[in-house]
C-alpha cells in the first residue's frame, strides 16, 4: 500500500488484533549449532533462576536434559514488531507470531517498488504518523514467537487499518503458502504426468500435461518460455478429497 494515509489505525481498538505494533518486542534467536550452551550453578547443579554467578558449559560435554529441562544461553535483542497471529486466535493462544520492523537504510530496496507492493517477500511499513518509527519493511521470512504476556495493550503504538490488514493477509499468503513446482533442469523425482502451475490460471493457453520419467530432468513449459518465465512442474494426482 502506498503512503501512510489510512495505513495505520491510531484509535486503539478494544481488542488486540493482527497488525498491532509494539515498540520493544523480544527477539530470541535459536543457536546456530546442534549443541546448546547450558547454564548451571557453579557447582554443576541445575540452575535456579536468581541473581548471581553462573557456569556455562557446552551440552556436548555434560549430561544435560536428563529427564529435566535446562536453562540455556541465547542471543536476543529488542525491536519494534508487528503481530502476525490471526486476530481471532490472539486471546486464546499462548504463543504469538510476530515480525520485527527493519530499516530501509543500508539496503538496496527501492522504496517506490516496496510501497507499490512489488516485492513478493517484503511488506512496506510507512513512517509512523506520530514519528514513533521511520519507514521500513517486514521480511515475512523472518518471524519470531513471543509469549503473549510480554506485551501490554497500553504499549501498543499503532494498529493497522482494515485495508492494511487485508494487504498484510495477502502478503502472508503469498510468502508463506505459495504453491511451488519443479523448475526446468531439476531432477524428476517420480515418473508421472505433470502440469505447469505457473500458466494454468491463464486463459488461451494449452497448459498441456507432460509426462516425465524419474531420473530425467524437467524441461521447459512452451507457454511460459514465450514470456521468458520458468516452468513450475507439479505432478498430477487422482481427483479425490484431501
Amino acid at each position: 500500500m502506498a503512503g501512510e494515509e489510512g495505513f495505520y489505525d491510531l484509535s486503539s481498538p478494544v481488542f488486540p488484533q493482527q497488525g498491532d505494533i509494539f515498540p520493544n518486542l523480544p527477539l530470541v534467536h535459536p543457536p546456530a549449532t546442534p549443541h546448546l550452551t547450558i547454564l548451571r550453578e557453579l557447582d554443576g547443579r541445575p540452575w535456579t533462576p536468581k541473581p548471581g554467578q553462573l557456569q556455562a558449559s557446552s551440552e556436548q560435554f555434560l549430561a544435560a536434559f536428563d529427564d529435566a529441562p535446562e536453562y540455556v544461553a541465547v542471543s536476543a535483542e529488542r525491536s519494534p514488531g508487528i503481530v502476525l497471529t490471526q486476530t481471532c486466535d490472539l486471546l486464546d493462544h499462548e504463543l504469538w507470531l510476530i515480525c520485527p520492523l527493519f530499516s530501509l537504510e543500508g539496503t538496496t530496496i527501492d522504496a517506490g517498488n516496496l510501497f507499490a507492493d512489488k516485492y513478493a517477500n517484503l511488506f512496506g511499513m510507512p513512517k509512523h504518523p506520530l514519528e514513533y518509527f521511520d519507514a521500513g519493511y517486514l521480511d515475512l521470512g523472518k518471524c519470531f514467537v513471543i509469549r503473549k504476556q510480554v506485551v501490554h495493550e497500553k504499549d501498543r503504538i499503532a494498529s493497522l487499518s482494515i485495508a492494511a490488514q487485508h494487504a498484510l493477509t495477502d502478503k502472508l499468503s503469498q510468502t508463506l503458502t505459495r504453491p511451488w513446482g519443479y523448475a526446468p533442469g531439476e531432477l524428476v523425482p517420480a515418473t508421472g504426468r505433470y502440469r505447469c502451475l505457473r500458466c494454468f490460471q491463464f486463459d488461451g493457453l494449452a497448459n498441456e500435461i507432460v509426462e516425465f520419467r524419474a531420473g530425467d530432468k524437467f524441461g521447459e513449459c512452451a507457454d511460459c518460455l514465450k514470456i521468458k518465465k520458468r516452468a513450475q512442474w507439479r505432478i498430477l494426482r487422482k481427483h479425490a478429497r484431501y
Binding site: 543457536p31 546456530a32 549449532t33 549443541h35 544461553a73 519494534p80 538496496t108 516485492y119 514519528e131 503504538i157
Partner: protein, 92 residues
C-alpha cells in the same frame, strides 16, 4: 510395551542402521540422539550475536511471483543485504 512404543523403537533402530553407514557425519548415540557433526559444533560460537537471524539476507527459492502485476518488475524478490532493526522513537 505398547504397540505405539514398539513402533517408535523399531523406527529408531531402522534410523540407526540407515544413518550409520550412509552418512558418517550423522552420529546416532545409543539412546537415539542424532547429532550432525558436519555443522558448527562449538556451542559458544552458535550463540554469538553475529548468528542472529535478523542479520541474514532473505533466502529465496523462486524467481518471480504467481501474482501478476501489470507493467512493472512484478513479483521481484529482494535478496540483498538486510536492513538494521528499526528503533522506537518517543518524540514526546
Amino acid at each position: 510395551m505398547s504397540a505405539a512404543h514398539a513402533r517408535v523403537l523399531g523406527n529408531l533402530e531402522i534410523a540407526r542402521q540407515t544413518l550409520r553407514p550412509a552418512n558418517p557425519e550423522l552420529v546416532v548415540s545409543p539412546d537415539g540422539q542424532i547429532a550432525n557433526t558436519a555443522s558448527l559444533t562449538d556451542a559458544f560460537q552458535g550463540v554469538r550475536h553475529e548468528h542472529r537471524v535478523t542479520l541474514q539476507a532473505p533466502v529465496l527459492h523462486e524467481d518471480d511471483s504467481m501474482k501478476p502485476v501489470v507493467g512493472t518488475n512484478a513479483g521481484e524478490r529482494y535478496n540483498g543485504a538486510p536492513g538494521r532493526l528499526l528503533r522506537f522513537k518517543n518524540p514526546r
